[in-house]
Subunit: 347 residues, 2 copies
DNA sequence: GCTACTGATGTAACCGGTTACAAGAACGGA
DNA sequence: TCCGTTCTTGTAACCGGTTACATCAGTAGC
């Protein structure tokens, strides 16, 4: 590895000048600058990131806090790949890399004593890497840790969970709006009894989707009794069970809005098991637009989220906070109703 | 942030001693060690990673090189989440973090001039972070860059692509074995004309699966004419097209082994479009065991890969190379045939 | 011609650890 | 008692950058 001193020596200047060429080119005379740049290129010099981070007290890395939820094993993030690619691409175009941090579960294996009761340990871990910022992906369990991160003063962007702090903000889909659109769609097809299977309690997007569902009903002049709201947990199984319960009512709904595609698929299976045809006897709408949505039979009408947009928006918000004291407003990504077959056609 | 000097001062020892307590505890007397550990804990001291990396010329990070394949846009890694979780968990239990590096595509956007023709730039990028090692996820495009990484002398583990170099090895599934098992399964059900839809040319797992297919046929005493091998590209569409071509033959096969679940689903759709029933008229086996495999109707019999095993094995191989000059043998992860409905039952 | 100011560059003190080497203490053996 | 080990700890030189401050040259103003 070539060091700045070698470049300096070859150019007949001091290391300070070499450093300036890379950090504040305007303060160096044109001739010197060109000479240094030339030599640096010839020698394939690139500044050592560890030294730079140490000296600047700031690294070119953004931490990614993400983990499985041990209370919900097997749960998959519906679009992790798009999210990561969007994030990585947006960050790297500004010179930042993404550092995946080991968190609660990993650490729990390693140090059985350390638990989330003491999230400070994790915050200090982020500190000692001199991270420029933090992206937090909601995994359900880490509410305390998230709060601690947000309080630490490090720029933080959370995904799908509201976060506030001196330099914290968040990105989420317009869950309420998407849910309302789904309900309006069902109402416009003539459905009057529209039920919903919600996500787990305490989950912010789930709550917003339920709120949107109620708003959609209100807008359509329909009433949504308590009995039309069933609590699920985003998993397919809960969609199946929930649908079965709904169908066993004396006055079953003719349409269901499921707060996740997985649950919608479960609902589809329950309807099939009950001998109902979809969409003729029952209309189903999901949420997320995961890959399987277009694959099931009938193909699922669903509310699509802007998957790569999450990454881009998170990166944008974070970069906005790095090197500025302003805290951007929370970002609400638009959702889009994707009409397929599970609700039938307009009539 | 508390520094080692502060801890040292409070303990009445020198920084060197504090450093030793954390790095080579055995060289410090028990009483001093306990005192230092105690104070360090009370002050919540943890060593600054930048300084440590600078001094040691080695950071506690492993680079992850992964990108989308711009020749195959929209391609999803079949099990990225499991892989990442396995990797992260295994690495973090040894104190390493995962650094997602920006690569070709990201850089191309940023510096349109820099392309893979000059992968050295990426290698130097890994150098200046003092990475402890590198995990390379095959994205198809980066063969040159992968070679450059492998030659650089940094410990490298590639996934699903053969890689050799002074400190390089790779992890892949037993693709040939899995494919052969699939074919044997079909043969045992009485099928005599078994076709295959392969992955793209130049893709190592695809080639191995084709090889396993041929071996399976040979073991069953069947012959596989050239006309029974159709080249696909892992995407669903190519499975659909490939199946249609096979069915248009004068003597169509009664069973197909598709080298990916996506293509198997395509084949299923083509069979349905042709008015054939699966499994009665046509048996289908896939590969990967992605989520949709169990969801399609009929549920797909497929060769499952050990998804979290990839991450664990990669981490294991990497950790084996870090701090040792031995290069582990390539890892072949076992595959498992998951029998569902798309081949019918034993008869 | 002298002063004040601006611009370019060098000097050296950091950043916060690690570690080779030196030094001193303790201890066993002759 | 003296010497050679072994164990423990301190001193100080790194690692490779960044940057406050000093210096010096050049230039404009009077």
């Amino acid at each position: 590895m070539v060091t700045a001193r070698e470049v300096a020596q070859l150019c007949g200047v001091s290391v300070a000048t070499v450093s300036r060429v890379f950090n504040r080119p305007a303060t160096v005379s044109a001739t010197t600058r060109e000479r240094v740049e030339r030599v640096a290129r010839d020698l394939d010099f690139s500044p050592n990131e560890s030294a730079r981070a140490l000296s600047r007290q700031q690294s070119a890395m953004v931490g990614l806090v993400w983990d499985t939820d041990h209370r919900r094993p097997g749960w998959r993030h519906p679009f992790l790949q798009d999210l990561l690619l969007g994030l990585k691409s947006a960050l790297s175009s500004h010179g930042y890399h993404l550092l995946m941090l080991a968190t609660s579960d990993d650490a729990r294996e390693r140090h059985p004593g350390v638990s989330l009761a003491d999230p400070i340990a994790y915050v200090s871990m982020t500190r000692r890497h001199h991270l420029a910022g933090l992206v937090l992906i909601d995994s359900g369990t880490d509410a305390d840790a998230f709060t601690a991160f947000a309080q630490s003063g490090l720029p933080c962007v959370a995904l799908d969970v509201a976060l506030s702090g001196p330099r914290a903000t968040y990105v989420t889909s317009d869950n309420a709006g998407g849910a309302a659109a789904a309900v309006r769609h069902l109402a416009s097809l003539g459905h009057r009894r529209i039920a919903t299977i919600t996500g787990p309690r305490g989950n912010a997007p789930a709550a917003a989707r339920t709120e949107g569902y109620l708003r959609g009903l209100a807008e359509a002049g329909l009433e949504g009794g308590e009995d039309l709201v069933i609590t699920g947990d985003f998993y397919r199984e809960s969609g199946f069970v929930g649908m079965r319960r709904l169908l066993s009512r004396r006055n079953p709904p003719t349409a269901v809005f499921a707060a996740s595609d997985e649950m919608a698929v479960g609902a589809l299976l329950a309807a099939r098991a009950a001998g109902l045809r979809v969409p003729e006897d029952l209309a189903v709408v999901g949420f997320d637009d995961i890959e399987v949505a277009s694959l099931v039979d009938p193909a699922l009408t669903t509310v699509a989220q802007d998957k790569p947009g999450f990454g881009t928006a998170a990166a944008g918000a974070l970069l906005g906070m790095i090197g500025s004291t302003e805290v951007p407003e929370p970002v609400l990504l638009p959702t889009k109703l994707v009409v397929r077959e599970s609700c039938g056609s307009w009539s």
